[in-house]
């Protein structure tokens, strides 16, 4: 896929794979696989997250995601969404590796259904086991710089702190901790979860994140394909603003027109 970077040569690399698009999109909650595929195209994403689920034995002819989003063109990132223990997540990813044939995966181990907050004790344990088995896990976590550091030390290839609870659309709740994680990490940092609209995605990029992952913000928009375009533009705008370096804030006005030569 030929993706135009907003700045020449501005790419990011995770576990040795280099990408131009800094937007990763989920493939859940869409009305149809056609709409899902159109939204992925409009978003410009080069990576999509996917889930691993049982085949429907009573209907083998159900349409497959792979018929609509070509895994040869778009990198499938298998996700452990819905797993509440390290063991379930590890089991799921072992199967995902067999289904897909690659080691790059997204780990998330949830603590409770109400908030879908990550269980960091189980997440760290699963990260250690997976790294030991040769996986390259990108890891969903709390927006805590210490937890992020521990995951990195355990071998996480990317840190993915939540901006707000999964599916909430509340936007980034703690800019300070996201920035602390960015400053402390040697691996890519991507805000995962909580983005509601384009400005939230731009904000994540302005904080210096390497990318943003979202699903519901696009899938539950009234016009998902249009929102996917908006998110693409927002991620690029936020990235450009970060690279450009924003002006300093002042407490009072500073005129833009020269005062000299006033009539």
């Amino acid at each position: 896929m030929n993706v135009q970077s907003p700045v020449q040569g501005d790419t990011w690399t995770v576990a040795g794979r280099t990408f131009t698009s800094r937007l990763i999109v989920g493939t859940g909650k869409y009305k149809s696989l056609e709409e899902n595929a159109a939204a992925v195209t409009a978003s410009g994403a080069e990576i999509v997250t996917v889930a691993v689920r049982r085949v429907n034995v009573s209907n083998p002819n159900e349409p497959m995601l792979t018929d609509f989003i070509d895994p040869k063109k778009i990198t499938y990132l298998p996700n452990t969404a819905g797993c509440f223990t390290a063991d379930d997540a590890i089991r799921t990813l072992r199967l995902a590796r067999e289904a897909g044939g690659w080691n790059l995966v997204k780990l998330e181990v949830l603590g409770e259904a109400k908030t879908l907050y990550p269980d960091m004790r189980e997440t760290l344990r699963a990260t250690e086991v997976l790294v030991n088995e040769g996986f390259e896990p990108m890891v969903y976590c709390v927006d805590d710089p210490i937890a992020a550091k521990q995951l990195e030390e355990a071998g996480a290839v990317a840190i993915m702190p939540l901006g707000a609870p999964i599916g909430s659309g509340l936007g980034i709740q703690n800019r300070v901790t996201i920035r602390l994680i960015v400053e402390g990490a040697k691996v890519p940092v991507l805000v995962d979860a909580g983005v509601g609209t384009a400005s939230d995605a731009a904000e994540a990029m302005e904080l210096g994140c390497d990318g943003v992952l979202m699903n519901t913000a696009i899938a539950e928009a009234k016009e998902p394909v249009m929102m996917a375009r908006a998110m693409k533009a927002a991620v690029e705008a936020g990235r450009l603003a970060y690279l450009a370096g924003r002006m300093q804030k002042r407490r009072y006005a500073d005129p833009s027109s020269p005062l000299a030569g006033l009539i």
Binding site: T27, G28, V55, T66, L95, E98, A99, N215
Partner: protein, 72 residues
């Protein structure tokens, strides 16, 4: 194993009787799935795709057959 030459297995939580001596690859195909587009776990162990054609279905096996679906 019974006189009708079938074995009892569990597939994605459901009991089934299948012909004795078939390979896991044949089992997956018989269910209507393409073995290269799914992943198979038998008794909690992933069965590598390269061995699906050789591995025989045994009486009492517990299979999970999965694929990629949309998700966040």
């Amino acid at each position: 194993m019974t006189v009708d030459h079938t074995v009892q297995v569990r597939i994605n939580g459901e009991h089934r009787r299948v012909a004795e001596g078939i390979s896991i690859s044949e089992l997956v195909s018989e269910l209507g799935f393409d073995p290269v587009r799914v992943a198979v776990e038998r008794n909690l162990e992933v069965v590598p795709r390269s061995t699906l054609g050789d591995a025989k279905v045994e009486d009492g096996d517990d299979f999970e057959i999965v694929r990629f679906v949309g998700g966040g």
